[in-house]
Symmetry: C2
């Protein structure tokens, strides 16, 4: 199903889902590609093109049913079953994620946590039992873990990713600011706050009047 769909389209579908969810919560039942486009900061043509990969939605002139398109997007994105999540690395970030209130709301179910710290192993943090990382394969199988949140220190990331892969888990949400290698059948999505921080730098920098030599960076080469 993911063959040939640009990753940027997938990202935008997630944004459309968020917009539709907000409209739905506000009690609105109809929307348009113009409205979705404005909220997602893209063109209406882009919205229609993105949706067209998956079929024909809505009616020309009368737009989209909010609950209808919401359901279709949830199905396209696979958000129609509870994905079972384990957190690998129960430092502050892992614990913050375990406490995150909206995981359930979005059909992600936290079922296990892992660490190497003997003080944490055997305890319950954020409502889940913390196991030794060595027990990942058995616990992952027992609990049918689909997705691992990777929240270990940088220098432990690749080894932990290897353990996750060996445990049969096919999705990794990587919070560690490093690239981890996995086989082709294991999908890694990265949450890179440093990248967001650098985008912010670009926009703040742009607010400062640029000096003439900055405007000509490389221009005279």
């Amino acid at each position: 199903m993911s063959k040939g769909i640009p990753s940027a389209t997938v990202s935008r579908l997630v944004t459309y889902l968020r917009v539709l969810s907000d409209l739905d919560k506000a009690g609105l039942t109809r929307t348009s590609s113009d409205h979705l486009a404005a909220e997602a900061q893209v063109t209406a043509f882009q919205v229609r093109k993105d949706l067209a990969y998956f079929g024909s939605f809505g009616t020309r002139g009368s737009g989209y049913s909010v609950p209808g398109l919401l359901l279709e997007l949830r199905r396209i994105l696979g958000l129609i079953r509870p994905w079972r999540v384990a957190i690998v690395g129960m430092g502050r970030l892992g614990q913050a994620l375990a406490d995150f209130p909206q995981l359930d709301e979005y059909d992600f179910e936290l079922v296990a946590a892992f660490d190497v710290d003997p003080v944490k192993i055997g305890t319950t943090l954020g409502g889940v039992d913390v196991h030794h990382s060595d027990d990942l394969p058995t616990v992952a199988a027992d609990k049918s873990v689909d997705i691992a949140f990777l929240t270990v220190p940088v220098d432990a990331a690749q080894a932990a990713a290897d353990d996750i892969v060996r445990s049969g888990i096919r999705g990794i949400l990587n919070f560690v600011p490093t690239v981890v290698s996995t086989p082709d059948d294991v999908r890694v999505e990265t949450v890179d706050f440093l990248a967001a921080l650098k985008r912010l730098s670009y926009y703040l920098h742009g607010q400062v009047p640029a000096k003439p030599d900055e405007l000509l960076i490389g221009g005279s080469r």
Copy 2:
């Protein structure tokens, strides 16, 4: 400087910077748009088009100087001065960010933290003093804060964003899974791990053989 540059280009520049930084650390001095494209998962044409917004880099046939292009990208992205950061909300996530070792490396300097918890106020967490959130305007001015990390609970996010704006801070890195409104001259970048999680769901879902009716979602409408 940011006028007319697509936000997707800005995101890709950040990716190219990361790739160049890795090449530089590995001691390589030359690269090509083909290599940058492969690492960033885009086309070489896209790389050249993105860079062309900012001038003429590299030499046809001999590619780019790694340290040269690295420096140019740092200048374009405004990563040529230490941005002064404050963390607003010192819960687990705020504390995890305060402890994050790579902030300094990337020219972001953590200068203050804020919370409303009397137990935390007056203490030092992650190497910075925690102030009462009411003192944001005075401390932000004293410490010349450029960027605020917003890490408060969801229901406190908009009020905290308003305080940040009133304190003269022009950049917000929003870790709260909600949209905050700010004036046009305050830039908000969002770190949305739930969006990354939903993208992951899409790709995992795609690995499961789809049922015929799922392949036809909306197609017969």
